[in-house]
Symmetry: C3
């Protein structure tokens, strides 16, 4: 059902093929040869579609779906409508992601260097790259094999971009060393000076910002994000971290592996996020803090102290989530009319 | 008084003409033939200016103004200084807007296709368009009659832009179908992938984002806004909705007609705003919620539950405004020294 | 130690030269002729480096450093390791900033007008400017001597840019008069219409925005900031004010001299910040307020009333900082489990 003007679907696949692609098992009694043409949500799917059930809340929709096949957990598989093929897995949403990728692979255009791109003669562009119209690439830049630089992106001198990266339109990147499979969405600004200066009534005095931005493999950086380079140490975005739109990362911040940072968060200078930290949208973290591994901070929180690994916090100043809701409940009781 | 380098004023108009343009009535005793040359605020206006009184707080300035004419409500008209012409209306600010538009019409440049624009041969540009320097337009794009694409904007393949739209400089638009009279301010990014993935410690798995962004007629989208396309369903911005700068709209969000979304708000995925909702600045709305028709959420609020039509909320988690201020008043009393 | 691909170091300098450059005194017993090659933090410095001690928290690192020279306050100078040269000053961080600037001067490239820039024939570019690839400069624009416009920036008709300014890549500037030594970071949007309209259920009615943006000398505007032009009055950013990334400035806002506005703040229309105001990150200020000289607002606050000069506020609605923390302490006590 996706709009064919924007999305090109791959060929139909058998249920067995889909299970194999996703590393999942075929449910008992499933017709392994049934051909599936596309993905669709439970309530819109027909016999030619594969759907999925991740949230038990939708079990009724699952029981009623007309989907030809469905990705489902073992516990739910028994509720499958008669005749539906099942693909059984412990993580239906992840399995669905892999199946959807098989129908809609994230392909890059054919290799191509636009006549209207401005590439410095001392830049090095590996084979298989797409360099689009209006792109400006400075001296000494290296772009790895198969990477795609979208229109009007500006890549400053000596920036290194790895293999199979996709750099969005109208991005600006300087002072950055980037790994492979990194994706930067449109309008992001990476590598500009951090906000470092000595306050002085006769005019603030700039402190030269002498670090870089290091972006490890498989990072995703959302549209309009701003990531300042370090002041001496580097700013580091760890492998596999995903960042939503309009996130601000201050200088010298170190972000670990696999973090998830929702839209409009701001992380102040020199703060460390250990691996697998999750920040809800619009959260702010003060500078020079350490947020422990796997900590989860609810949206709109303001973190003023270190957070222990695995802790869940909320509020401003942020506190354990239960404590935050006790505050609210207390105030509701205390101010209840008569 | 506007700087003539930036603003070109139309010819002088009589008070009668102005009343007619705005669909308002001439006040009794007004000299309908008096010529007015420009708009000006009450305290700076002279006999050649038309001003307006909307907020009763400024009634003294109204009584003392030297403006040749003034737009005013019936109740206030009797306070008009001797000899001033009045244009009487129920909505002075709206009438002022129409009068100011008559002096400073929002005209587009002459039709023009810049030699330095990169337009794919398979794109279709209707007559009367301005396509500026550095613009990149992909295959299959349709731009409607009289639209203006400002410099270095990037329009992805198969995007449809209606008539009389103005697309700001350095914007990036993909996977989008846009109506007529839409205005996108500079630097906005529209149509990129939503933030959809299955979290996995071995590397988050991307869920293909297979929807579009639908922008209805007469929408305004502020500078630096980010609007993600849907994941399967579409992201929809309803007719006549106005969005200030740096607003983030997640995938699958549906926004109704005539909403007002102030700067730096974030709306999480799959949330619905019914018609005429107003969000104050820096407000965040969690995902999968429904905000009822005409609801008003104060600035900096965090909405975690559905909001009923017409309700006014504030705080985090958001609550009825009166309740929010009761919480604050209670704490002020409880912590008062001595 | 900075990466020589990105940072070019100036020649070695004697300790006496460094003291003179920064207007500071040489500590007693210091070897004034010792040659210093670079800056480095206390824990990484060797005999060829100059470091600094600003925060007494690092006094142990100071006592143990191997730095050849160190910038330090008089009180701390006596703790200097044997044989180290000292540069003694009341403001070590500012002195360090000046010394670091001497090693890493903020030099602009050689004057250069890119063939791929689009400069209107009626624009005026002074001598010594750098106009980079993809830049679009409208009719009547004036760019002062020695200014640098980075790639793909878009400068609208009749904008005035002073001397020695640096305008970042992919910025968009219109309706603006800018002084000297201004720096605009990448992706900022300046001068677009403010968010002004009369709300109307049949379609909001735009109020023409007839003012400008006035940017005084030595202002810094962070990446992705949005600054709307005035509606009639101007929007003004005062001399020497520094703004971090993703800040939103509404129409008619007046910001005084030397203010510091941290990332993701939003200032609503017609609000005045007097000189030397400091706003922490993600703070919002309602419209039509006056924030007094030297006031300091903590991060994530929401200011709903005028703030007196010198006051320190926090919270939403913002209140004196001590009061804010009394609220939190009270709630923690009141909800403490038995």
């Amino acid at each position: 059902m996706p709009d064919s003007r924007f999305f090109k679907r791959a060929a139909a696949k058998s249920v067995a093929d889909l299970a194999q692609i996703a590393g999942a098992a075929l449910g008992s009694g499933s017709d392994s040869g049934r051909m599936i043409e596309d993905v669709a949500p439970l309530d819109k799917a027909g016999p030619e579609h594969v759907s999925f059930l991740d949230n038990p809340k939708y079990r009724d929709a699952f029981a009623a779906t007309k989907a030809g096949a469905c990705i489902v957990s073992e516990e739910m598989a028994s509720l499958a409508p008669e005749g539906m093929a099942t693909i059984v897995t412990k993580s239906p949403y992840k399995t669905y992601a892999l199946v959807a990728q098989a129908f809609y692979p994230d392909t890059f255009p054919e290799a191509y260097i636009a006549a209207g791109a401005h590439i410095h003669p001392l830049a090095s562009i590996a084979s298989g790259c797409v360099i689009s119209e209006g792109v400006v690439i400075g001296a000494g830049v290296e772009v790895g094999e198969g990477s795609w630089i979208e229109p009007n992106a500006v890549i400053g001198a000596n920036v290194k971009i790895g293999r199979d990266c996709r750099i969005g339109a109208n991005t600006v990147i300087s002072h950055t060393l980037m790994g492979d499979h990194v994706r930067v969405y449109p309008g992001a600004c990476i590598g500009q000076d951090g906000f470092g200066f000595a306050i002085d009534p006769r005019g603030h005095v700039k402190v030269p910002q002498l670090g870089r931005v290091i972006i490890e493999d498989s990072v995703e950086i959302g549209a309009g994000c701003t990531i300042d380079r370090g002041s001496g140490p580097d700013t580091v975005i760890g492998q596999g971290t995903w960042m939503d739109n309009l996130v601000q990362i201050g200088h010298n911040v170190k972000i670990g592996r696999g973090c998830v940072i929702v839209s409009q968060c701001g992380i102040s200078g020199s703060t460390v996020l250990e691996d697998f930290v999750v920040l809800g949208g619009q959260t702010g973290i003060a500078g020079h803090l350490r947020i422990g591994k796997g900590a989860r901070i609810a949206a709109k929180s303001g973190v003023l102290r270190d957070v222990a690994p695995g802790e869940e916090q909320m509020g401003y100043p942020s506190m354990p989530i239960k404590q935050f809701f006790r505050h609210i409940a207390y105030l509701n009781r205390a101010t209840k009319k008569g």
